[in-house]
Symmetry: C2
Subunit: 388 residues, 2 copies
């Protein structure tokens, strides 16, 4: 425990970044990291990079790590690209943790990035859908809003979860995203607006769905005994857990819980020696509002079936039981696939260091943060627990 730490973090502005391609976004995140780092020289201190990019086809560049390490000045040093669909960012952090802890490299720069808006929204939706099963599900019209709509419908039927509960998640995430200067969609919405927006896949409407965004985030991961060289306030990686699930959701015993997330959470809690009650803030994978509600339950913040009530009661705002997605989440901050898990680390890093106060969304005294990052419909899940 506490053998590996994050000592610096940065993020680009998320959004429809017509001004920036894949390379520019990565550069912007690394530049932000360097400018906010206490004492890091990329050239002298970084031994290797791990690059998280989910999809080649969004921008046509094969093997994207090579262009990216060139753009950020890491040529000559070892690099590796990892991909786990929408859980790519945390897969990159897990890989960096392993490279450091194994002794292969002392200090590793992680960059998660995705440029999604260079193709049409229809094409982006198709590319994401092809991360579903292209043999048994995609050909029958299954896209991600459809998959999560199935989960929502089942959750409603089984537990009495309501549309109002789903929309409460959206209202909260927009409330905080409006305060986050790097968020994609910075506007508060009312419960009425959330409930009455256009239908996408029943019961999910526009405000139940996360955004197609461009963006990048970066962190520096190092050995604990080097951490204080780079900052007085390192944030330690205390637990990492991962799980997976069947390719086809039609083969799963339950649609109201992600088995991979439960496996991942249990492993992460065990490794960190903490439980759900110890988490001060959580970054969860709200690709759809129902996903955040299911995350509450899979992570143990609520009992099975009671996630919707937790949202409706406002228990996941700052000051409630546990602060969730107070950077706006995928819903309002945006969801550039490869960047998302790294951005979760960026947010937790800043929160645990008390650096978000000026944005009016600091979780005061937060000591332990949790990141929950889901690929596809739960085929990959990583849960990472960070502590001061």
């Amino acid at each position: 425990m506490n053998d590996v730490a994050i000592v610096a973090a940065g993020q680009s502005k998320f959004g429809k970044r017509t001004d920036a391609g894949l390379r520019n976004l990565a550069f912007e995140a690394v530049k932000d990291l360097v400018e906010h780092a206490d004492n890091i020289s990329l050239k002298e201190d970084i031994d290797a990079t791990v690059i998280g990019v989910a999809g080649d086809e969004f921008n046509g560049q094969g093997a994207p790590a090579a262009v990216l390490i060139d753009e950020i000045g890491m040529v000559g040093k070892p690099t590796i690209r990892v991909e786990s669909a929408c859980a790519t960012g945390t897969a990159a952090i897990k890989t960096a943790y392993s490279l450091v802890k194994s002794g292969l490299h002392d200090t590793v720069l992680v960059v998660g990035v995705e440029k999604m808006t260079a193709v049409s929204t229809a094409k982006a939706t198709e590319l994401m859908a092809r991360a579903g099963d292209i043999r048994w599900e995609y050909p029958f019209g299954c896209t991600f809003p459809g998959f999560y709509a199935l989960m929502a419908t089942k959750h409603m039927e089984e537990y009495g979860t309501t549309k109002e509960m789903l929309s409460s998640v959206s209202v909260k995430n927009h409330f905080y995203g409006a305060k986050n200067p790097k968020a994609h969609l910075r506007k508060e919405i009312t419960l009425e607006e959330a409930m009455n927006s256009i239908m996408i896949a029943h019961p999910l409407n526009l405000y139940d769905c996360s955004l197609i965004s461009d963006g990048a985030a970066a962190v520096v991961v190092t050995k604990a005994d080097l951490a204080k060289k780079y900052t007085d306030t390192p944030i330690y990686v205390r637990g990492i857990g991962s799980g997976s699930d069947t390719m086809q959701i039609s083969r799963r015993p339950s649609l109201t819980s992600l088995t991979g997330a439960r496996i991942a959470a249990q492993a992460a809690y065990k490794m960190a020696g903490v439980g759900p009650e110890d988490i001060d803030l959580a970054e969860v994978h709200d690709c759809f509002t129902i996903a955040e509600i299911i995350a509450y339950e899979d992570l143990g913040f609520a009992k099975p079936g009671e996630g919707g009530k937790l949202a409706l009661e406002g228990q996941t705002y700052i000051g409630g039981k546990v602060a969730v997605n107070v950077d706006g989440g995928l819903k309002s901050k945006g969801h550039p696939l490869g960047a998302t898990g790294v951005s979760q680390a960026y947010e937790i890093f800043r929160q645990l260091r008390g650096e978000v106060a000026s944005e009016g969304r600091q979780v005061d005294g937060a000591e332990i943060g949790l990141s929950h990052n889901v690929g596809q419909t739960g085929q990959f899940v990583n849960v990472i627990i960070y502590g001061r």
Copy 2:
């Protein structure tokens, strides 16, 4: 040193596998591994998987790890996909090494796989070319035969390397590939045939170029103190080194050496505590014949400029200075991108255990093997040293 071992290995038949898709190939390699393993239960002994696939677009399946772990029965367990273009296989092994050595997972199954022939050869060439720089090189017609032709021409001009030297590499690799039942193109060729085949990109002709193949390979990586539970003859990972280079080859100071390969080799030798003179057999990345000659020099088997002579003199046949690519190499065994680096480990594993005698290509008494795996034109290079 010797903290991590390979305890089982398997490989599919390489070739134009019209009978097998991506999933089938992975299954075939894992089945071969299980059937040849001394004492391994996938279900009970494997804690996580690492999947190496280089390109999504060859088969249209996004986030391919999910379908693959489902096909091979690893659902529920953690997985991660890694990609480093043609060096994907060794990137996967390096990642597995790190996951094991870090303590996150005890025993990890690595599967490298590529299905390349479902698209036309022209499309496959385009997809590979797009792993070159799509902004500054690909649009001007640069494909991989062209890149390596530049290197060959420069090597000839600078060192007097001859076409006969290039063709000698091809003759050797076909000689051994003919003996390898899992090789793609099993036929011996004469020096005359090699020198007079149709021109692809001057001075590289057909027999200077590796194959577009389908295939998969798999290994099990575990902690050394668990290794003897699975086999009496584990093969240890003794050194791993990685390097990288500029995206555009036009910006490199030299075309006759891969800087990333030199960095990787030095790091691997240092970690393993051995030098080039200690290597009994090497698996090097002969995507083109000139690449094998440059590899001899980058790995220290020959001085700069003398790699061609080493080939011409037959010093890289069994019984020579160092046995190189005695499974046929990428040239004759085939080059299914994500599988190649894992197949190198498969070959070294069997050679160091003395299991290739029946195929008439055993390097008798081999104790140390080296794998050299290059992505693109040297943007990623991994060198791994294995020992008994």
